[in-house]
Symmetry: C2
Subunit: 337 residues, 2 copies
């Protein structure tokens, strides 16, 4: 059973100090909350994703079994479903949409969990990529509420190299004069196309392409066909300001950006007391396992489980059955603890 809902959060003061009026989080739930209210799992969305994008990991017989758990998927701010540049009224529309942080998302999700669902505990928070950023943030902000976390292909803080990769994507989009500083009349399709092409080089591993998995697994005869028929349309489906708003959220992600931690990442990691399994992909070009090793070393109840895949960052996207199976097995193991 799935249900969709909208959490009207009203005027929200963001981490930056700016106020976003009439903020809304759109969410989908799978399954039912039990009487003890202790079977809830939170599964935030990733970059370009919506509640639909997480569906692959949920189903009867899977770790995220809706017959057993109440799984809540909140759409990340900026994704075009929850409050975003594209659906917010003036004067906060388009390029005037304020910077939203991962922390802002998590604080709103916390209100959704408590005010709407009356939850005092979460059995698990998990997520891919920016969903993993939110997962780490949950662990650091609400250690008393989160029993387990399982971030995959993500990080507690966006690395400087990851920031730079994103900056490259952004600069490609901004190079299109049609972007018009965000006040475009028609979508800046040339810039979005460039954005998509830059991004494509990062999403999988070198080995993925060496073994021609883009042909075998993604079902296109050559790279150009893949780019023009699959990859670019996925980006063109998004509003350009939304792409940049989520990118800014990503670039700013840092669980240590908190008065309690004062920018000390190790201290912030130490605050994540939930039982945790951190799953980087061995070949992820933006969240390499070395960063995860550092995180796990400073988290009191965490362990590292590297996804042994050549799918790079996309190992967490659900397209490759082997990787999906690996993640599912780890989630099952963690939930059994």
């Amino acid at each position: 059973m799935t249900n969709d809902g909208i959490f009207e959060a009203g005027n929200v003061t963001l981490q930056s100090g700016a106020v976003l009026p009439a903020t809304r989080i759109v969410y989908r739930t799978h399954g039912r909350l039990n009487a003890a209210r202790d079977n809830a799992i939170l599964y935030p969305t990733h970059y370009l994703g919506t509640h639909d994008s997480n569906a692959w990991a949920i189903g009867p017989g899977k770790a995220l079994d809706p017959d057993r758990y109440f799984i809540i998927i909140p759409n990340m701010l900026g994704n075009g479903v929850s409050s975003s540049p594209s659906n917010t009224a003036a004067p906060h529309d388009g390029p005037r949409f304020p910077l939203v942080t991962v922390r802002d998302n998590v604080l709103l999700q916390h209100r959704l969990m408590t005010e709407i669902f009356g939850l005092a505990t979460l059995a698990l928070v998990t997520g891919h990529s920016m969903g993993a950023l939110q997962t780490f943030q949950w662990g650091a902000l609400f250690p008393g509420m989160v029993q387990r976390i399982a971030p995959f292909c993500g990080a507690a803080r966006t690395s400087r190299h990851n920031w730079l990769f994103l900056e490259g994507c952004k600069s490609a989009l901004l190079a299109d004069v049609a972007f018009a500083e965000g006040d475009y009349a028609a979508p800046p399709t040339v810039g979005i196309r460039a954005f998509a092409r830059v991004y494509a080089g990062w999403a999988w591993s070198q080995t993925f392409f060496r073994r021609q998995l883009d042909r075998e697994a993604l079902g296109r005869p050559d790279m150009e066909a893949f780019l023009t028929q699959v990859w670019e349309p996925a980006f063109q489906a998004h509003d350009a300001n939304n792409l940049l708003a989520m990118l800014a959220t990503w670039q700013a992600a840092d669980i240590s950006a908190d008065p309690r931690f004062g920018g000390d990442l190790e201290q912030a990691l130490a605050a994540i007391t939930a039982r945790a399994i951190v799953m980087p992909c061995r070949t992820d070009l933006y969240f390499p396992p070395e960063d995860s090793e550092h995180e796990v070393a400073h988290m009191p109840h965490a362990e590292l489980r590297v996804i042994p895949s050549i799918w790079g960052h996309m190992a967490g996207g659900g397209l490759n059955p082997e990787d999906a199976g690996f993640i599912d097995a780890v989630l099952r193991e963690l939930l059994a603890r």
Copy 2:
């Protein structure tokens, strides 16, 4: 002793079948050719490089010792010094400059070696990045002439992932309407800036930035300062059509694109009979060691020597003394064989 020269090659029929009129290769030499004419070393240039860019590896006491060797640095076509979009007359100027391949470069260099210097043998061909592409091509085309090759941070064939990374850079530049399909009145600085920013994410490794070496080694207080003060100006110094011409050369690089080999890379690699040491950098994001392992496995007298550096592709650029020392030691060892 250095000397500069210009090789006027006349009308050159390129690998594509197109004819480039009045083709010229500008070159610099260090040292003197000995009486036996057997002390010549060829050291082609890399992307964005000129004869100046290779100077770091040459000097008394180094492997490339001008007191002992006659070192020839031919500027790659498209680099703005040898024949390039920016310095070629109509109708082959700007965006009408034909596709030049690595093979075209090497065939012209071969004419320079034989027609101008009267050489029948080369003690060594070596080069970084696109210089390495040319080095592999020399080995495959002229096995009887080349005694040794030492390509570093390069490949015998541009990988599909490498092609994609370059395609991303290109699309960022093309997103600037000021590029005007190559017939720009003023340089498309916004597009070149985007090109540079996209490129920056690839040039070093994730670890390089994690350890903040951009601050320590490149001497800038933060990433933005590095990008705007160092990295972008290096790209803005180049003509946009030149950037794209060299990029097209790179994307097309393939020693097996030869009637003798018919696209069979293993067969082409087997033709490289020179004593070879192939030096990928452990953390190079565009020429990862796995590709080099495959190359070496199919070359009859080759061995792999991985540069143990976190400088990524830039390990071959001469900026890091440790990497420069590693390469120098390997060149010395190879020359002693």
